[in-house]
Structures are given as structure tokens and as C-alpha cells.
């Protein structure tokens, strides 16, 4: 596609449920990043993929968070047993290579009630 696509755009879930967030990067972009943005704040790094490998997952807040990338393309961020503090906008970005600028998706707004 022409840009980075994220789905769903909005997700409301009950505390304790698992959620899956999807990211479709720009075709050919080898680097993929997940960030989290709390209301009106800056971005918090979660994880970086180069191809299907994740050389840096240092930003994942807890073991309830996991991510994978398959075929060097689509990535899924999974949050298990969601908590209210997980509520945020989850942004995915891709870049042609790891030293290029990012193209961001529009994000998934997650609300845990």
C-alpha cells in the first residue's frame, strides 16, 4: 500500500482481556517500529524489527506485551491480560532501512475499561 496501515483504528476492551494490534508496513520497508503515545504526550519506544528479527525489544513494559513480524512484512503487537494503564495510542512506523526516517501509521487507540 501507499502508507503504513494499522488496524483496528479504535479498540475498547475489558480489563483482563487479550488484544492484538496489527501493522501493515510500506512494501519493501525492512525496519518496523512500535511506539506508544499516552494522551497528548511524546512517543515511548516499544520494539524494533529488522526483517523478522527483533534486535531491540527493550521498551516492552512487561511480559504481557509481545510482538512478532512475519514474512518481513505484517507485524502484530499482542497485549495479554490488559490493564487500564495500557490505554494509549499504539503507533507503528516503518522505514526503508534502519537509518532512514520513519513513516507512521495513524495508530490504534486502545481503551481498557
Amino acid at each position: 500500500g501507499a502508507g503504513v496501515s494499522q488496524s483496528p483504528s479504535n479498540k475498547v476492551t475489558e480489563k483482563g482481556k487479550d488484544v492484538e494490534l496489527r501493522c501493515d508496513p510500506i512494501s519493501g520497508h525492512t525496519a518496523l517500529y512500535w511506539y506508544r503515545q499516552s494522551l497528548g504526550q511524546g512517543l515511548e519506544f516499544l520494539i524494533y524489527f529488522q526483517g523478522n528479527s527483533a534486535p531491540d525489544k527493550s521498551g516492552l513494559p512487561s511480559d504481557r506485551f509481545s510482538a512478532e513480524r512475519t514474512g518481513g512484512s505484517v507485524s502484530t503487537l499482542t497485549i495479554q491480560r490488559t490493564q487500564q494503564e495500557d490505554s494509549a495510542v499504539y503507533l507503528c512506523a516503518s522505514s526503508l532501512a534502519s537509518n532512514y526516517g520513519y513513516t507512521f501509521g495513524s495508530g490504534t487507540r486502545l481503551t481498557v475499561v
Binding site: 517500529y33 511524546g42 519506544f45 534486535p55 527493550s58 534502519s98 537509518n99 507512521f104
Partner: protein, 112 residues
């Protein structure tokens, strides 16, 4: 933990005024980027600077990277309502991973 502080946090100005937004850190960055984000959208890359002392101009926007590569500024001349948004700086550490660390953001509102 690297931290990028931006100032001011909020800025409300009249159309036609000039403004400067600052991005400061105690860490050295190999490159620094500026993004603008509008409500409900992801950040959009404006510029990347890589050389200490570098100045880049993008129409009415002027970006400067500090000589020591620890700080940067964004200057907007004759601001317009279309400049309204959240401005974010992001630095890549001089060694280690390729991730960018994002600043705390400056929310700009330009009134017509």
C-alpha cells in the same frame, strides 16, 4: 535513559508571529529528526539533521542541529493556522541501536 526535553510545552500565538521551539538533551545524537503530528494521525517527518551545526530550511521552517549534537531548534517564520499541531523532536543515539528517542513534544496553536 536518554531524555529529550522540549520547550515550551505549549505555545499559542497569533498568525504572522515568529516562534522557536527547543529540543535539549545531555546525550549526543548521531542524527535528529523533527516531526509534526495532527490529532488522530501519526507523526509526519519534517526533516533529518545529521551534522553538528547543520541548518536546514523548509519554506518558513528553519531547523538547526547544535554543534555538540545534543540539542536542536525549530524556528517558524510568519506562522500560519496550518502550522498548528504537536511538534516532536527525535534523536538517534550515537552508538547502539537504530531506534529514535522522542522528545516530550511542543503543542503549537496558531490563531487566525
Amino acid at each position: 535513559t536518554q531524555l529529550l526535553e522540549q520547550s515550551p510545552q505549549f505555545l499559542s500565538i497569533q498568525e504572522g508571529e515568529n516562534l522557536t521551539v527547543y529540543c535539549n538533551s545531555s546525550s549526543v545524537f548521531s542524527s535528529l529528526q523533527w516531526y509534526r503530528q495532527e490529532p488522530g494521525e501519526g507523526p509526519v517527518l519534517l526533516v533529518t539533521v545529521v551534522t553538528g551545526g547543520e541548518v536546514k530550511k523548509l519554506k518558513r521552517l528553519t531547523f538547526q542541529f547544535g554543534d555538540a549534537r545534543k540539542d536542536s531548534s525549530l524556528h517558524i517564520t510568519a506562522a500560519q493556522p496550518g502550522d498548528t499541531g504537536l511538534y516532536l523532536c527525535a534523536g538517534r543515539v550515537a552508538s547502539g541501536t537504530y531506534k529514535y528517542i522522542f522528545g516530550t513534544g511542543t503543542r503549537l496553536k496558531v490563531l487566525a
